[in-house]
Amino acid sequence: MSILLKNAKIIDPLQNLKGDKLSDILIENGKIIKIDKNISSFEASRVIDLEANYLSPGFIDIHVHFRDPGFTYKEDLETGSLAAISGGFTSVVCMPNTNPPLDDELALFYINEKRKNLPCLIYVATTITRSRKGEALSDFIYLKEKYKDLIVGISDDGNDVSDTLLLYNAMKLAKEYNLVVFSHCEDKYLFEDGHLNEGKASSFYGIKGILNECESIGAYRNIILALRTKARLHLQHVSTKETVKLLKVFKKENISAEATPHHFTLSEEQLLKDLDPNLKMNPPLRSKDDVKAIKKALSENIIDVIATDHAPHSEKEKNISFEKAPFGIIGLQTAFSLSLKLVEEGYLSLEKLIEKLSTKPSQIIGKPFIGNLKPGSLANITVFNTDETWVYTREVNKSKSFNSPFLGKTLKGKILKTFYKGELVYES
């Protein structure tokens, strides 16, 4: 089975393709064969004209919560995958805060079986500590050995590992066994039971706030441990200017960082207008200065990756008081449009954006056969238009949950087609 995609503006940062001219791309047996100016239609059994739209390697989201097993009323592997491909994502890394957590052998077996029939590539981070309790090392080196292709790293996401000795040793073993440490940076004592940014929002509503330092203190500790152990450390959802400053000073090749679209799109000012539980996430929406620092950090490559922290919660859970509502919003379908604003505002070139959505994430998780369009790589492909607008309606939403502050909004930049292993799995 071969497919020829014609007339695309192809962007592949790894091959220095900037999407400035029209080319064709030939796919066979789920893999990229070649990119060329005019590939003959006779070479393929199926030809699709992409009508001068952009084409890039499929996006890779290294931070999602698919809630499966255990919380499938929020999301499951199927609905999560549908949301992913609708947003142009062909690979995701699932965080382990499921029930049972993803250090459970049966849960890993279940995902490993199930992922074979899904329209996108599923990877997981197993836990750092047993059941994410922060007390003892989880058996991640054994689990990695058993599920080599499935597990790419370790994380207690949602919690930091407060016990520094435990984290230090986890990093040593992660280095030894080539696992990425996905780190949710947070000082749990400083966190207390905050719900939103310590600043304007907390001052105004009298709701307990979460200090910027709550993140940056954790980030500092985790960074210096990574410098000592040489473990691959990835800082998740960086939200503060202080953490950016730390990265600027300390970042080495073994350290990377991500920002979420909501953290560079919205600030706590939004909360002053509307105490919407769909604006509640951890880390919280920060000040305007923080938002600016994150954008700048993305443009200066201090933050390498855009990841969604796609965190579905049911309407029943979210439609309660702000203080009682759980943290997190969904983000797979809005990530591209929100990120495109960085291009409009001049923070990133379109090529740089693709690098942060695809090239860099593949390098962080060490998967050279995705995140690029080189011959032999998987034909995971996203086709998009940067001018077209669309409305994020409930009908368009593919997640099982609806907890997004962007629901009902008109967004610019549309995902037109998504190919997974050479198959058209999504079309708008």
């Binding site: 090392l137 058996d139 435990l166 073993l173 030894e176």
Partner: protein, 307 residues
């Protein structure tokens, strides 16, 4: 040579060679069982073990009885130590009761460094925290010397790898020091959380894989993994996983061409550091180590106490 055996360094290389030769003689003299040579018949030896011990204590007791010394076992749990008397005061008092030697095992590192200036009797270290266990190292060297035809030149050509929790092992530290004295090349290997930050202080190197260890070593010394210790589960997740990645079995060594020797100071965890098939195989020197302990320790006692 002084009156104490606290550290490998208390003996010169020549002293150690003399001790090994004497141990060999004693082993032959003991051919009829339960011999009393009466060489130390006027000596009083006090045993103070503040940590549990089977092998080391029994082995020293047997060594003392082979030489005809009188032994006293100080019951550490029922003593005045519980009334607030310091251990050092206790030992000074015991000395005035006529002790010629103290054989001591303690938890705290640094105990002997203070004690040695206050006591005239011989001090013999039978295990000091995570730092030193010199008599174990000597008996392991003896076992190798015996295995390699009593030829120190052959020992010099060996490559020895210690695998396990090096960080917390007094046996490993004493062995590394002793092998270094005898110019034997050593390596260490284990989970990264069990290795030394600066292996060069023991003149040794860290290996990168079990495969590498098996390929280059003539002798592999395994150490007991203790996950029951406090905080142990912050260093390594489980015994099952230890066995999977770092444990040895006949299966894992079957592709090694040369005749590799396996040692373990005991007590070994079957199915953790070593699978029983291998422990009871021809490669294993484990049971020879236990047997040799008596004669090496007798030779040490004789060397220190015989005027």
């Amino acid at each position: 040579m002084g009156k104490n055996f606290i550290d490998i360094k208390d003996f010169s290389k020549e002293d150690i060679i003399e001790i090994l030769n004497r141990a060999k003689e004693l082993k032959h003299l003991n051919k009829p069982k339960n011999v009393n040579l009466g060489l130390l018949k006027d000596k009083n030896i006090y045993f103070l073990f503040f940590e549990p011990s089977t092998r080391t204590k029994m082995s020293f007791l047997k060594a003392a009885s082979l030489l005809g010394a009188t032994t006293f076992d100080f019951e550490t749990s029922k003593s005045s130590l519980n009334k607030g008397e310091s251990l050092i005061e206790t030992l000074v008092n015991l000395e005035s009761l006529g002790a010629d030697a103290f054989i001591i095992r303690v938890k705290e590192v640094g105990f002997f460094d203070i004690l040695k200036n206050k006591i005239k009797a011989s001090l013999i270290n039978a295990g000091e925290g995570t730092y030193r266990h010199p008599s174990q190292a000597l008996l392991d060297l003896y076992t190798l010397w015996e295995e390699y035809d009593y030829d120190f030149e052959k020992l010099k050509n060996l490559k020895i790898t210690i695998i396990g929790d090096i960080k917390n092992s007094r046996v490993a530290r004493s062995l590394l020091k002793l092998f270094s004295l005898f110019e034997i090349k050593t390596f260490i290997y284990g989970p990264s959380t069990y290795l030394l930050e600066n292996p060069e202080v023991y003149n040794t190197e860290i290996l990168n894989s079990l495969e590498e260890a098996l390929n280059i070593s003539d002798v592999i010394i395994l150490l007991r993994i203790q996950l029951e210790r406090q905080n142990a589960k912050k260093y390594f997740p489980s015994l099952k996983t230890y066995n999977y990645f770092y444990g040895l079995s006949l299966e894992k060594i079957k592709n090694i061409k040369k005749n590799i020797k396996i040692m373990h100071p005991g007590p070994f965890n079957e199915g953790v550091e070593i699978n029983s098939e291998l422990a009871y195989s021809n490669c294993s020197l484990i049971f020879k180590q236990v047997n040799n302990g008596v004669f090496v320790r007798a030779a040490i006692l004789e060397k220190l106490l015989k005027i």
